[in-house]
Amino acid sequence: MPSKRWSLPILLLVAAHLVWGLLRAPTRALVRRAEQVGTFQRLGDAHYLFAQSRLEGADAIAWLRANTLPEQRVPWQGSDRGAIEFAAALLWPRLLVATPPGAAEAGLVATRTSLRLQRP
C-alpha cells in the first residue's frame, strides 16, 4: 500500500523525536532547571546573573541596594552595554542616570564586563 509505505518513515521520525524528547526531559528540562533555580536562590539574583554572564560587580549592586533609598537616582558612567544592563534591572526602582565621564558624583563606573563603585 503506497500510503503505509510512505507514511511509515515519517511516523517513525516523529516517534523518534518523541522518544528523544521524553528521554531528555528528566535530565535537561527538570534537573538542569532545578539546579538553575537552586543556584539562583542560593546566590541571589545579582551574584547569579553576574556569575552566569561572566561579569564582575555584583558586590557593587549589593552595596547600592543596601545603602541607597528605592526612590533614589544612581549616577553612572562608562559603557552602556554589558554589566550596566544588569545594574539597571537589579537596582530598580532606583533609576540609573548618565553622568559625563569624570564627574565627581559618579556612583557606578561600567565597562562591558564589570561594574565598580566610585565614591566622590
Binding site: 503506497p2 510512505w6 515519517i10 521520525l13 524528547g21 528540562a29 533555580v37 539562583f40 544592563e85
Partner: protein, 472 residues
C-alpha cells in the same frame, strides 16, 4: 465536542491577550495610564468571543480516550515544568532579566509611559523602543496580584493546542494528530531552561506561540484566530511585523481572499500601533506620527486587497501574483528599513552598500542555519520532519495542504539572514550562536503545524471528488 471546546479556549485566550495588547498599546500611545480594569474586561471579551464562536467539529476519526489522557498528562507535565521555572525565580538569563522583566516591573508599578524611565533621556533604559505587549500583560497581572509569569506556560499550551488543532482541522485522525502534538510538545528547545526558552522571560517563545496560532487560523480558515494571532505577533517583538508581512505575501501568492483580508488588515492595524509606539518611545514622547503611519499602512492594505480582487476578476494565475509581489519587494524593503529604527539591523552604522557586499556571507549563514536547525540537538527533528514530509508529498504526488503556510516558512529563511547581513563581520562567529537559535525557534511551531497537517498519501478517488476546491 472536545475539539470545539479547545478551539473556543484558544480563541478566548487570543482575544483576551490581543485586547490587552491593542487597547493597552493605544492607551500608552495616548499618554494615559492603562486602567487595571483592562485585564478583567479583556478576559470577559475573550470569553464572550469564545461563546459566540461556532467552530466546525473536527472531521476524521476521534482520539481514543486513553491516548487523549496520556497526551494531556504529558503536555500538562511539561507545562508544569515551565511554570515551575517561571515562578520559582525571576528571569535567569540576560534579555529576560535586563529588558523584559524590568519593563514588566516598571509597568506593574505604574502602567504609563509618562514616567522618567521612559521619558527622561538621561535614565538608562535598554531596548527603549521595543513593543510593550509582554511587559504590559505581565504588569497588569501583577497589579491584580496574579502571577504574571504564568503567561509563559500558557503560551506553551496555546502552541501545542494550535498544532493539534491544525492537524485535526485538516482531517488528520485523532490518533495521528495526538502523536504529532506530543512530539512537538517535547521539542527540546521548548522544554529546556536555556536562554530564549519559555520560562527564560524572553519574548521569543511567546512569539513562537503567537505565530503558531496565526498559522492555525490560516490553516483552519478560522479568521478571528488568524487575526488575533497576527496582532499579537506584531505587538510582541520587532521581528513580528516582517513575519506578519510575509504571511500576507504567502496568502497573496496563494490567492485566498478571506484569509488575505484578515491577515492584511490585522497587520496594517497592529503595524500602525507598534510603529507609532516605537516612534513615541524613541522621541521621549514627542507627538507620534500615527495618522501618517495609519494612512500609509491602510493605503498599502488597500493596494494589496484591491490588487487581489483585480487579479481574481481577471482570473490571473500565480505568475501574475508572483510578479506583483516582486514589484512590491523593493518598496517593502525600503519602508521596512525606514521604519525599523535599527530593529532589523543590529548595527545601524552598516549601510546598504556594505550589506550588499555581505551577500557573499549568505552561504555561510545558510550553512549555520542548516547546522543549527537540523544537526543540533536543541531542535530535535523539528525541521527534519517537515523536510521528510516534503519528500513524501513530492514522491506520492499528494496535494499539499495549506501551501500558504509552507510558503510562509520558506519566506522566513531569507528574513532570518538579514540580521547577519547587517552585523559587524568580525562578530559573525559570535553573533550566529546567540541570535540564530532564537530566530529558528520562532519557526518551530509553524514547521510542526504545517507538517502535522499533511495527509502523506494521495486522496482516495471518492474523497478527492468531494474535496474542498481550495485549501490554503
Amino acid at each position: 465536542m472536545t475539539g470545539i471546546v479547545l478551539q473556543r479556549l484558544v480563541l478566548a485566550a487570543l482575544v483576551a491577550a490581543a485586547g490587552i495588547g491593542v487597547v493597552g498599546s493605544a492607551w500608552l500611545l495616548a499618554h494615559g495610564t492603562v486602567p487595571d480594569a483592562l485585564l478583567p474586561l479583556a478576559i470577559l471579551g475573550g470569553l464572550a468571543a469564545a461563546a459566540r464562536h461556532r467552530p466546525p467539529a473536527w472531521p476524521g476519526e476521534p482520539t481514543p480516550r486513553w491516548l487523549a489522557g496520556i497526551a494531556v498528562a504529558v503536555v500538562l507535565g511539561a507545562a508544569a515544568l515551565i511554570a515551575y521555572g517561571a515562578l520559582a525565580t525571576p528571569s535567569r538569563h540576560w534579555d529576560g532579566a535586563v529588558a523584559w522583566d524590568l519593563k514588566a516591573h516598571v509597568l506593574a508599578a505604574n502602567p504609563t509611559l509618562q514616567q522618567p524611565f521612559f521619558r527622561d533621556p538621561a535614565v538608562y533604559c535598554q531596548s527603549r523602543d521595543y513593543p510593550l505587549l509582554q511587559p504590559l500583560l505581565l504588569g497588569l497581572c501583577e497589579r491584580w496580584h496574579l502571577p504574571g509569569r504564568l503567561l509563559f506556560p500558557a503560551a506553551y499550551l496555546l502552541l501545542i493546542a494550535s498544532i493539534h488543532g491544525a492537524a485535526r482541522s485538516a482531517g488528520i485522525a485523532g490518533r495521528r494528530a495526538v502523536l504529532w502534538a506530543l512530539a512537538a510538545a517535547v521539542t527540546p528547545v521548548w522544554l529546556s531552561p536555556s536562554a530564549g526558552s519559555f520560562d527564560s522571560g524572553y519574548g521569543d517563545a511567546a512569539l513562537t506561540a503567537w505565530l503558531a496560532a496565526a498559522g492555525f487560523g490560516a490553516a483552519a480558515g478560522n479568521v478571528p484566530v488568524l487575526a488575533c494571532g497576527l496582532l499579537l505577533t506584531v505587538l510582541q517583538k520587532p521581528e513580528g511585523l516582517p513575519y506578519a508581512g510575509l504571511l500576507v505575501a504567502a496568502l497573496w501568492l496563494h490567492g485566498d481572499a478571506r484569509r488575505l483580508r484578515a491577515a492584511t488588515l490585522a497587520t496594517a492595524g497592529a503595524g500602525t500601533l507598534v510603529l507609532a509606539l516605537q516612534s513615541d518611545l524613541q522621541t521621549f514622547g514627542r507627538p507620534s506620527p500615527w495618522p501618517v503611519l495609519a494612512l500609509g499602512a491602510f493605503a498599502a492594505a488597500a493596494v494589496v486587497l484591491g490588487g487581489d480582487a483585480w487579479l481574481r476578476r481577471r482570473g490571473a494565475n500565480g505568475r501574475w501574483r508572483a510578479l506583483g509581489l516582486l514589484a512590491a519587494l523593493p518598496v517593502a524593503i525600503a519602508v521596512a528599513a525606514a521604519v525599523s529604527g535599527g530593529s532589523l539591523a543590529t548595527d545601524p552604522t552598516v549601510d546598504g552598500a556594505t550589506s550588499l557586499q555581505r551577500l557573499a556571507l549568505v552561504p555561510r549563514i545558510g550553512h549555520a542555519m542548516f547546522r543549527w536547525g537540523v544537526g543540533h540537538g536543541s531542535f530535535g527533528l523539528a525541521f527534519v520532519v517537515p523536510l521528510a514530509v516534503v519528500v513524501v508529498l513530492w514522491r506520492t504526488r499528494t496535494p499539499v495542504r495549506s501551501p500558504a503556510l509552507g510558503t510562509w516558512l520558506l519566506l522566513l529563511l531569507p528574513l532570518w539572514c538579514m540580521p547577519f547581513l547587517f552585523a559587524p563581520v568580525e562578530d559573525l562567529a559570535e553573533h550566529v550562536p546567540s541570535r540564530l537559535p532564537r530566530l529558528l525557534l520562532h519557526g518551530t511551531g509553524i514547521a510542526w503545524l504545517w507538517a502535522a497537517q499533511q495527509p502523506l498519501s494521495p486522496p482516495a478517488p471518492e474523497s478527492a471528488l468531494g474535496a474542498s476546491p481550495r485549501n490554503p
